[in-house]
Subunit: 571 residues, 2 copies
């Protein structure tokens, strides 16, 4: 294939017209063209390198890797470094190997990192655990390009032996280690960095990111569905304040400061989690545009999703350069960033209208090993008229919860929920063969009736349910069980569910179908009174014990500050 | 050691006051200080990372690595990646190992690359040759961080088997490959780059460098004694022209172009060769200042000799960051760049006045294996009154020569030099045990009497001599032989010599002593009529056969265009 086009060269940060030869999927020749009045350029638009998402948990998109590829190429994404952390908690190595195999079905560059923290804690039942020797096994695979985010930062800082062993194995492999150290600072951060943990995607403010960068880490600016940190990290007033502090040693001329203001400082833009309804709207293309609107040099923003991740992880691609895999995107302009076509290995995979490859159906092995439940499983018993309970208080869009208390009425020895105080019932049902059901109370959902349940519940992905009454909770959980996993909304008025039969996390359908079904479930949940923007996501994080202050696992109500179980009933 | 100072953080391109803790030679803690009116900062000046010369042939400084370290730290240099190419041509592996051992005597970060092209050609007698298995042996050493400049670019492009084997060994070692491909362009360059040759330091114009950069190479901007490319590569009018060409696709806003004009685009600043008289004046500190005067952002210029080379070669250092080796320099300001103090591994090695470490004398094994010569060895015989000869025509400051011819008088059957036409005699004397002496004629030196000789003669370093008459030529060569190598100026009026007994390339003295002696020899050569700025350097390159058009080795006069020997006498 030989054609002429304007190309964005991220290596010299310039644009020029070139004659491009592609052979065997590789850029064979890129020759600048001297333009005359007669020169006609074949391609309308600008060639830019294919976009690379350097940190994503595909499972959060609720679709398979192959289906993810089909939607991602519409947005100019040609590669993704995936941390299969969620499926690893459910199915261990087997789950990871499923992701790798499934990803090979499609012409898309999938890379993987080895999940470093499975399970998240010892206070929950997970489907699998990965020890140091599992990590070693995974890092030997060609498809695995690094150790995934080391979330157990207390373990790193305190020198936990198994954690250090995993890190040592990763260092010896020569593959980079991703970090996850929200708000870790000072000496603790020094200890974390000393283990050669080289990236962080958890920075939520400019100074946090700056300190990590100053300590040698590379910063992944997160612009996903769950967490959006770009505004904070590209905040110009913060940057200006920071630069102004240098006045004490006034040797940076004003014009240099002026230039610095448009430089992102940081290294990558990543999505981390991308929910299906967001994913159909856009991916990194949207993030680049957002960065440019925040004042970042648009070419440098593009480098954050092309040459920077390619260099860091040693991936083929990331630049339009001779010898590199011919992954590229034709956009209309650097201003609008509309994706006109996407090419991977020199082949057109998206022609502006259609995705030019298909995916087959995945044969499903049921991963939900739980018996159907009845209302009784969700009752809390108390001998008296009223009892005082500990309540998880959650907030819109936040993972952090607070400890609240409430006085609740009891009827026939059973503690009732109370919609006047907005105290509903919450439970986690074990899905790994045991019969654990832990019950508690939660504030913040504002459901007036019915129940919602999901087998997406970080990180162990047992079945979590929030509801007004035990009857509906049992029905919602049973709908999830019957579907081999998924999300269900149940009420006296209407019921519906999304089946996620692949590990209880992913659908066999494409992003559009899943997104539409999720929209329906969202509307139903709102119709039941819920005031949260993303009720299923908020619910999913109520089981993530490592985030304070009060959470719940299949083993009981958990105090994240004291890091121990506490009773639900305070009397 | 704990102190406060303003630091230049090359990772975030900013300056801030910090409390710095150094333990065991490593930055243990770097904590930003919130300045109040009472805050006193301990250090006057600015802490910047130690400078790294990422490509240098130490032998060209005519001093040992240990002595090089003593002068380099005065200029803020704390590390050098050395290609021991010169000594390798003389003594092979043994010479390289001498350099490595000698470098360990001093507290300075020496790294080495494995010379890839020894000998340069088959048309000369060298002291050693390094084959693929030697390269493999060298690359296994911890001190060796890469394969040195692949000068045999025709061999790479034509697919020479031994060359490709060396490159493959280097790739398998995981250590980067340095390039050397002057003016190579287009498809030839593609083939060169395809071998994963990742740097080039031979670029002499902006477009050459731009093409290489666009093809994925990293560009070493050379600012040394022999070659100075910085002005050409940092030429703003060239950059502006290049950027203006993008008008055809006018999507880069003017303010982005404006910012781009101060960015160097390229990756490293290197010296390649640094002669003793230049070295006592400055090193990379001078180059940074020069770059800033050319309009380059001074912080980005500093990155080219700190974090960029450290990242590329995987060296410890390059930034003032926790966990890194405490190599740093205190400068007075980013404007003047005067080095106040230099620290390596947390230890002060230069206090602003004195270098705080000493070096011992190297015990010398004579590497000059040549018998003393007589005038007859330098006669060219011709039976007649006049003969026509081929003449090497050299030019001030250039390595390229032209083919000239001249008619010369003959006396007693011997061809005479002719100062009216400026045609002098030149000869190369083998120094590796054989008795080769090749004679020829040269134009451009303008010596009116006497002779100059040197055992520094690229790349094989036989003894080269230029003179008015055979008597003085023999005396000059014998002075070099008696000195176990070096440079000699001989005439009826005065004579002097610099002894370079270490491989015939390096002195046992320090940079100041060698520089002073060289100055004396320069003055003497000028007094003999020579019009060249650097006669010994120009002479040294008359034996470098790979640079066209006419050169001379110990085996005869060599036509670099036809790549074959030719006769001196044309009759």
């Amino acid at each position: 294939m030989i054609f002429s086009a304007y190309i964005l060269d991220v290596l010299t940060e310039s644009i020029y017209p070139a004659r491009i030869t592609i052979e065997d999927g590789v850029f064979k020749e890129i020759s600048p063209i001297n333009m005359t009045d007669e020169t006609k350029i074949d391609v309308e638009g600008l060639l830019v390198p294919g976009f690379i998402d350097s940190h994503i948990h595909i499972e959060s998109s609720m679709i398979t890797p192959a289906q993810f590829a089909r939607i991602a190429v519409r947005h100019g994404t040609t590669a993704a470094v995936c941390d299969p952390h969620e499926i690893a908690n459910v199915c261990g190595i087997e789950g990871i190997e499923f992701m790798i195999e499934n990803s090979k079905e499609v012409p898309f560059n999938f890379y993987f990192t080895a999940p470093s923290c499975v399970p998240a804690t010892a206070f929950e039942t997970s489907g699998a655990s990965l020890d140091a020797s599992d990590i070693e096994y995974l890092l030997e695979k060609d498809e695995v390009v690094g150790l995934a985010e080391m979330m157990n930062f207390p373990g790193v800082i305190d020198g936990d032996e198994e954690v250090l062993r995993k890190l040592e194995i990763a260092r010896n492999s020569g593959k980079p280690i991703d970090g996850h150290a929200p708000l870790v600072t000072g000496r603790d951060l020094d200890k974390y960095v000393a283990q050669h943990i080289v990236t962080d995607h958890e920075c939520s403010n400019f100074h946090e990111a700056l300190e990590k960068k100053q300590k040698g880490m590379k910063i992944m600016v997160r612009d996903g569905s769950s967490a959006k940190n770009m505004e904070a990290l590209f905040d110009f007033s913060e940057k200006l304040n920071h630069l102004k502090k240098q006045d004490g040693f006034s040797i940076i001329p004003t014009e240099i400061i002026e230039r610095r203001l448009h430089s992102p400082i940081f290294d990558f833009i990543v999505s981390d989690d991308k929910h299906p309804n967001d994913l159909i709207e856009g991916h990194l293309n949207k993030s680049i545009k957002k960065a440019a609107n925040l004042g970042i040099d648009v070419i440098q923003a593009i480098e954050m999703v092309t040459i920077n991740p390619a260099t860091h992880f040693g991936l083929d691609g990331g630049a339009i350069v001779t010898g590199s895999k011919a992954d590229f995107v034709i956009i209309d302009s650097l201003h609008d960033l509309n994706v006109l076509k996407t090419y991977i290995g020199g082949e057109c995979v998206f022609d502006g209208e259609n995705v030019l490859f298909d995916v087959g159906e995945v044969s499903v092995k049921n991963s939900i090993n739980a018996s159907r439940k009845s209302a009784d499983d969700f009752e809390m018993f108390f001998d008296g008229d009223e009892c005082e309970v500990n309540v998880i208080e959650c907030f819109n869009g936040e993972l952090l919860t607070q400890k609240a208390t409430a006085k609740l009425k009891c009827k026939d020895g059973k503690v009732s929920s109370d919609i006047y105080q907005d105290v509903l019932k919450i439970a986690v049902v074990e899905r790994y063969g045991g019969e654990n059901v832990a019950n508690g109370f939660i504030k913040g959902f504002n459901l007036k009736k019915g129940a919602i349940a999901s087998s997406v519940a970080h990180d162990s992905h047992n079945i979590i349910v929030v509801g007004y009454d035990s009857e509906m909770m049992a029905e919602a959980v049973n709908a999830v069980i019957d579907n081999k996993g998924g999300i269900a909304v149940v009420s006296e008025d209407f019921s519906d569910s999304l089946s996620l039969p692949i590990a209880g996390l992913m659908s066999n359908e494409d992003a559009y179908v899943v997104s539409e079904k999720l929209d329906t479930l969202h509307r139903m949940t709102k119709a039941l009174g819920c005031t949260l923007d993303a009720p299923f996501m908020t619910m999913a994080f109520m089981a993530l014990l490592v985030i304070p202050s009060l959470k719940i696992s299949d083993k009981g109500l958990f105090d994240g500050d004291a890091f121990e179980f506490i009773d639900v009933i305070r009397n």
